[in-house]
């Protein structure tokens, strides 16, 4: 048990470090980027048709962009201590409020996508791993390479035209009901399944080839039973470790899918914020994503710890 507490405690320390690092790094990088911030902020506020020098100057005055940067950064950290992420430079909304809405949408999309990918990827991969070298093993390799070669927007538009336009099963795009989440989630899930099926396949093939599995077979267990008793746990460790990573990649991968399916999420918001030089929004978004990452890692640690009795003992 002490091991577990140590692991989770480490993650808590990490969360604080992440907040410091992400906040500072985002701030400095955005400040260092070329281009006049005031104009960019004005452009995202009023639309490109209406930006002019006067609007930019007004923005500069209002937001105090002339202040020395340590003062501005200090103000942000001060706010963070009070759990105040500040106000978006572009929209004037509370960052926390905007993130709350967007994060919710992104999480819904990501979790759905992950569930879909879990249903698709590892089972198909395990099947291929059990009979490595078989026809399904080869077919799955070709399939996953094809899915990996197609960018999400090509897969997405294909699904959209097929399932929503041609067959009218699902809404093309939008947000509001549960049906809208299916297409974007499926698009993401296919990309994820392409990778997780490979990891699962390799892990299972490894287990099947290992001496202890051969021993179980010699005991007279059939393949399926042998795998259930001895294989699943061993094969699951790399898959779970990989899933932790995938969740993060997923949250970022959503940016394309969000834009294609008109889904109001955090990836979309982050790109807009960087392009618009909306520092509090970039800091807030990156912070939330960073902390989410720490939380996911803690969960992954926990899962690996539960799955691997030797590490539990250690």
């Amino acid at each position: 048990m002490g091991g577990l507490i140590r692991v989770l405690g480490g993650r808590a320390v990490q969360a604080v470090l992440v907040a410091l690092l992400v906040g500072t790094a985002c701030f400095l990088m955005v400040r260092l980027l070329p281009g006049d911030m005031a104009y960019r902020i004005a452009a995202s506020r009023y639309g490109y048709d209406l930006v002019d020098g006067a609007a930019a100057e007004a923005v500069r005055q209002e937001l105090g962009l002339d202040r020395p940067w340590p003062v501005q950064l200090g103000a942000w950290f001060g706010g963070l201590l009070r759990l105040d992420l500040g106000v978006s430079l572009a929209s004037g909304e509370e960052v926390a409020e905007a993130l709350g809405i967007q994060l919710g949408h992104t999480l819904l999309l990501s979790v759905t996508a992950l569930l879909f990918s879990l249903l698709i990827g590892p089972p198909l991969g395990a099947l291929a791993g059990l009979r490595s070298g078989g026809w399904w093993d080869g077919a799955l390799l070709v399939l996953s390479a094809a899915l990996r070669a197609l960018p999400a927007f090509v897969v997405g538009i294909g699904l959209m035209l097929w399932l929503a336009v041609e067959w009218e099963w699902l809404p093309v795009a939008g947000v509001g009901g549960w049906r809208e989440v299916i297409l974007p989630a499926l698009t993401l899930a296919l990309g994820l399944a392409a990778a997780s099926s490979r990891v699962a396949r390799d892990a299972v093939a490894g287990v099947v080839a290992s001496p202890f599995f051969g021993f179980a077979r010699m005991k007279g267990l059939d393949d399926a039973t042998a795998f259930r008793r001895h294989g699943v746990r061993n094969a699951a460790i790399p898959v779970v470790a990989y899933l932790g990573l995938q969740l993060v990649i997923l949250i970022e991968g959503v940016v394309v899918v969000e834009s294609l399916f008109a889904w109001p999420g955090i990836g979309h918001a982050l790109v807009h914020a960087v392009l618009g030089r909306d520092i509090p929004m970039v800091q807030g978004t990156a912070l939330v994503m960073g902390l989410l990452f720490v939380a996911l890692n803690a969960l992954t640690d926990l899962a690996c710890w539960l799955l691997d009795p030797r590490r539990r003992a250690a």
Binding site: Y48, A90, G174, S259, L260
Partner: protein, 512 residues
């Protein structure tokens, strides 16, 4: 196997095979819901930011509207008068109008909303207004000089009238308008739902509920129109128009609007200081080819700055802009440019090279820039393309680093183009207009236009202004703008607004 339906279907679909389940009716809309899909996101509640969403959805009203030709028509104001000295405007309000919180629309509330809008940076800040006040149940606007385009300014979405309860200090906290539809659900930046406002004082709209969805990608919008999942899809991408025209579900409306894609040049730079250089650049462009291949609309080839849709400013007699490479080369040779290594022109050891900034908010612009890059290359001009944030163009204008920019300029931002002309081609140029160029003759013309009322003289002055811009080419017109809209055949009585002020849903009804 019949090949016709298959060949229409994209390869992806054919390869994916056909599902065996029947089509459910679930993709059909809930009854009495009119779904609008456009590209523009909802960026906040302030009319100065996203007013266009709320005015087009007829949630928010302005004092006056505009008809297809840009002439002012009553909206919240039922009538107006202008004083003898042409300085004081008096607007009488619709008596029965009520905000969506149930309070009556009073002159005091309207004056306060306009006064606040004027304090925000944006278009209304440029009004030469001295005083906006309530006076005996009417709204008075007094300008410091005769200002003919005032009505047009008041029709702009940033002049939308919100109820007093909508504000918290200067900030807008709630969308409380006075239009025929009232917001029922708002999910920025993507979605808006609204329903009939029961206490609306005009004729009750035939359509009960409306929704708005911002879908940034042209492919997505086209798919929604194709699948019958929207009643109105605005801003169709050019390459999708042909396909939708063949779709029996929708009627596609394509019309020219007062907007032009143009190249802004830094006329103070040694490259473009001479008018002959600007003409040479213009002569090197294959406008027809771009209009046909990329914009899918040969009629949108620009032959002068203002499109025929702007009948008052378009001058049919002007010699059309055209492609003539030998003439372009001759003009450049006259200026001392000689072909150098790899065919790039050189003068005094320096190449004819510059960077064109453009942006992807309008998705066709990077493609056009790439096409022009190759065309200019044929004339020996080396143009690099930088796809940037749109704010980099006015920023580059201000700090002088901008060399050239490809952009789209809306001349009916206020329904009277004079407002835009004054911003863009005044003595100091404009962020979205001339740079490093000024014409005393044009300034004189524009100034007279703001003050003169006689229609014949105004027409002559406008023609003069167009001719000056045509000869001097401070900006190089590339193509005019088509607004393509898909309207479901389930809807009747809906005429698309060429000025994009309203979707006009309140006046439409369900067909059959």
């Amino acid at each position: 196997m019949p090949s016709a339906p298959l060949s229409r279907r994209p390869l992806l679909l054919a390869a994916a095979g056909l599902p065996v389940l029947p089509r459910p009716a679930a993709a059909q809309p809930a009854a009495d819901l009119f779904r609008v899909v456009t590209s523009q996101e909802i960026n906040g509640l302030d009319p100065a930011r996203s007013g266009y969403v709320f005015t087009r959805m007829q949630v928010l009203e302005t004092l006056v509207g505009a008809d297809d030709g840009g002439l002012a028509v009553p909206q919240l104001a039922r009538a107006w008068t202008l004083s003898e000295d042409r300085l004081t405007w008096r607007f009488a309000l619709r008596e029965g109008a009520r905000f969506h919180d149930g309070t009556p629309v009073t002159a005091v509330a309207v004056a306060a909303a306009l006064e606040r809008a004027r304090g925000q940076s944006g278009l209304l800040g440029t009004l030469p207004a001295e005083r906006i006040a309530a006076d005996d149940g009417a709204v008075l606007v007094r300008t410091s000089r005769p200002f003919a385009p005032l009505l047009a300014f008041l029709a702009h979405y940033s002049a939308g009238i919100l109820a007093p309860a909508a504000f918290e200090g200067q900030a807008v906290r709630e969308m409380i308008g006075s239009g025929p539809y009232k917001v029922s659900r708002l999910l920025p930046p993507q979605r808006l739902e609204a329903a009939r406002w029961e206490r609306w004082d005009g004729p009750a709209p035939a359509i009960g509920r409306v929704s708005y969805l911002a879908a940034g990608r042209g492919e997505t919008r086209a798919a929604m129109a194709e699948g019958g999942q929207a009643e109105l899809v605005a801003q169709l991408a050019p390459e999708t128009v042909e396909r939708l025209r063949r779709n029996p579900r929708v009627a596609v409306d394509v019309r020219a609007i007062p907007r032009t894609r143009l190249i802004k040049l830094n006329c103070a730079s040694p490259l473009f200081r001479d008018v002959r250089a600007r003409h040479a650049l213009s002569l090197a462009l294959d406008r027809q080819g771009m209009a046909a291949a990329l914009l899918r609309s040969p009629a949108s080839t620009a032959t002068q700055l203002f499109p025929p849709a702007m009948a008052e400013w378009h001058v049919p007699a002007l010699p059309p802009l055209r492609r003539d490479l030998p003439e372009a080369r001759r003009l450049l040779a006259e200026l001392g440019w000689q072909p150098g290594p790899e065919g790039i022109l050189h003068r005094e050891g320096r190449p004819f090279a510059f960077t064109l900034r453009t942006f992807s908010d309008r998705p066709e612009l990077p493609g056009l820039a790439t096409a022009m890059q190759a065309q200019l290359r044929e004339a020996g001009i080396d143009m690099a393309v930088a796809v940037v944030n749109s704010g980099e163009i006015p920023a580059g204008h201000r700090d002088g680093t901008l060399e050239a920019a490809l952009m789209a300029r809306n001349f009916s931002l206020v329904p009277d183009p004079l407002g835009t002309m004054l911003q863009d081609y005044g003595p100091e140029g404009g962020d979205w207009g001339a740079m490093g160029w000024s014409s005393p003759a044009l300034n004189g013309v524009l100034e007279r236009l703001g003050a003169v009322a006689d229609p014949a003289e105004r027409a002559a002055l406008r023609g003069r202004a167009s001719a000056i811009l045509h000869e001097e080419l401070p900006v190089i017109p590339v193509s005019w703008f088509d607004l393509a809209t898909a309207v479901s055949r389930r809807v009747a009585g809906l005429a698309v607004d060429p000025l994009e002020l309203s979707f006009r849903i309140a006046g439409a009804r369900w067909a059959g």
